[in-house]
Every structure is written in structure tokens, then in C-alpha cells.
Symmetry: C2
Subunit: 153 residues, 2 copies
């Protein structure tokens, strides 16, 4: 069971995702959190550019803010399973844990696709998955439902 | 054999890499090229931030410049085998061909590591590897040699 602090951070991720959904944007967000200091280091939402994934923005913000290249000891919370690009970026900056909501069978890169952390040569974060799973999945499904509806109009 | 145009583009990549080396920065660069129009669309060098790979910068510049999310028909030239993050980014924007100099057995993501393009579900660019291989490898080796020398001083 997720502890209260982690629950609150994941709820923040869902709230940011909902904000994006309200603007017809991909409802994916990421929060980088310091579990020792109990402090949010950075927050980000998916943006419209093709490489504009929330995880990439959150990592860039955190490394800039802390003026360090490695984020050991910090955790990242994401709406959905990170893609291979983001999974590798998470490893590159040595984040300690990855929490995510629902799996992404088509685009995911941790449990699905090339399973980036199956490579024994790289930094492997601890993965805590299926956190607020139905809430996360509902957001993503709602986005695609809206998209289809807008197309049909 | 590489045609004259591709040779010139790869030489430009090596020149940009050399510029970075001269400033004690990682000697990796990327050029996105339109082979139909015979026109360079974007150029980039590795930057100091941990996600600041040349390929990411070059893709972001090209999608912004052309105001399009997909780069079908364009090719990317890189000093060294792209890492999994960049290999996936290249796939995500549908680049047609990837040319690179030397393999990266530790950090590469095409022939090495998780071999991102082994996933049958994603866009697969054509890969033209080992182009100006010794020149590329020399640049990378020189960087690490300088680094060791500076450390020893």
C-alpha cells in the first residue's frame, strides 16, 4: 500500500494531468519529489511538441533548479508508464524510484516494448507501478474519447 | 560507399564535434538533412545538461523550424551511435535514415544495449553505420584523453 505522502504526490500528478485534459492536451504529468525533505522539486505536464513529455521537462527543471546532473535520492511520479526515451532519461539522472499509474502496452518502455531497464549496464530505479491505476487510465481514455468526438463533429 | 552529399554532411558533423572538443565539451554533434532539397534543416552539438544530447536538440530545432511533428523524408547524421533516449526520439519523429560514425558499446541503443529498433511496434529508420568511423572514434577518444590529462594535472 502506498503511504500517505506518496498518495498525495500521485494525486498532484493526476490533478496536473486533469488540467491538461481540460485544455484538450495529453493528460500526462510528472512530479519529482524529495522523500527525505518531503518537498516537491519540479512539476511538469506534457506539451505539444513531439519530444515534450512531462518526464523530460520535470527532469530538466530539477537538474537546473538543483544545479546537479544526478538526482539520486529523488523519486519521479508519472501518470502512465514512461516511454523508452523517458525511461532512459530517468536512468541517466539516477532517479531512485519511478511511480506510475497505468501501463502503456503500445508506447511504454519499462514493462512493455524494449524494457529499457532489462539492460544490465544502466542505472535501474525501483519501479512502483499501477498506482491510482484506474484514475490514470480514465484520464487517458477520456482524452482519446474527446478526440474522437471532436473528429466526428 | 557514401555518396558525395552524405560525405559532406558527415564532415560537417565532425567539424561541429571538433568545435565542442576544442571547448572541452563532449565532441558529439547532429545534423538533420533534407536529401531531396539538399538542404541542412538543423544542426546541434551536445550541451552540458544530462539530457542535452545533440540529437534531441537537432530534432527539437527541426520540428520547430518546419512547424511539423514528423520529419519523414529527412535524415539525421550523428557522430556516435545514439543512446536509447535519442534512438527512440528519432523513431518518434519518423526520421527516414540515421547515419552515425562509431558504435557506442556502453551507451548505444541501436546495435547495443536494448536495441530500441528491435521493437516491431515502432517506426524504424534505415541505419547507415560506421561512417567516417575512425575519425568519429578519434574525437571521442581524444575527449577522454584530455579529461584524464586534466584530472592528473
Amino acid at each position: 500500500m502506498l503511504n500517505k505522502v506518496s498518495q498525495r504526490i500521485m494525486e498532484r500528478v493526476l490533478e496536473l494531468s486533469q488540467n491538461n485534459l481540460d485544455e484538450n492536451k495529453v493528460p500526462i504529468a510528472a512530479v519529482i519529489f524529495d522523500p527525505q525533505a518531503k518537498k516537491i522539486i519540479s512539476e511538469a505536464k506534457n506539451t505539444d511538441d513531439p519530444l515534450g513529455h512531462a518526464e523530460m521537462h520535470a527532469i530538466r527543471k530539477a537538474t537546473k533548479k538543483l544545479k546537479q546532473d544526478r538526482l539520486n535520492g529523488l523519486d519521479i511520479y508519472v501518470t502512465i508508464e514512461p516511454c523508452p526515451m523517458c525511461a532512459y532519461a530517468i536512468s541517466k539522472v539516477n532517479l531512485t524510484k519511478v511511480y506510475f499509474g497505468c501501463e502503456d502496452q503500445k508506447g511504454g518502455g519499462i514493462f512493455n516494448g524494449v524494457k529499457v531497464y532489462s539492460n544490465s549496464n544502466i542505472w535501474k530505479p525501483e519501479v512502483i507501478s499501477h498506482v491510482y491505476e484506474s484514475e490514470s487510465r480514465n484520464l487517458i481514455q477520456q482524452f482519446f474519447k474527446n478526440k474522437r468526438k471532436n473528429k466526428a463533429l
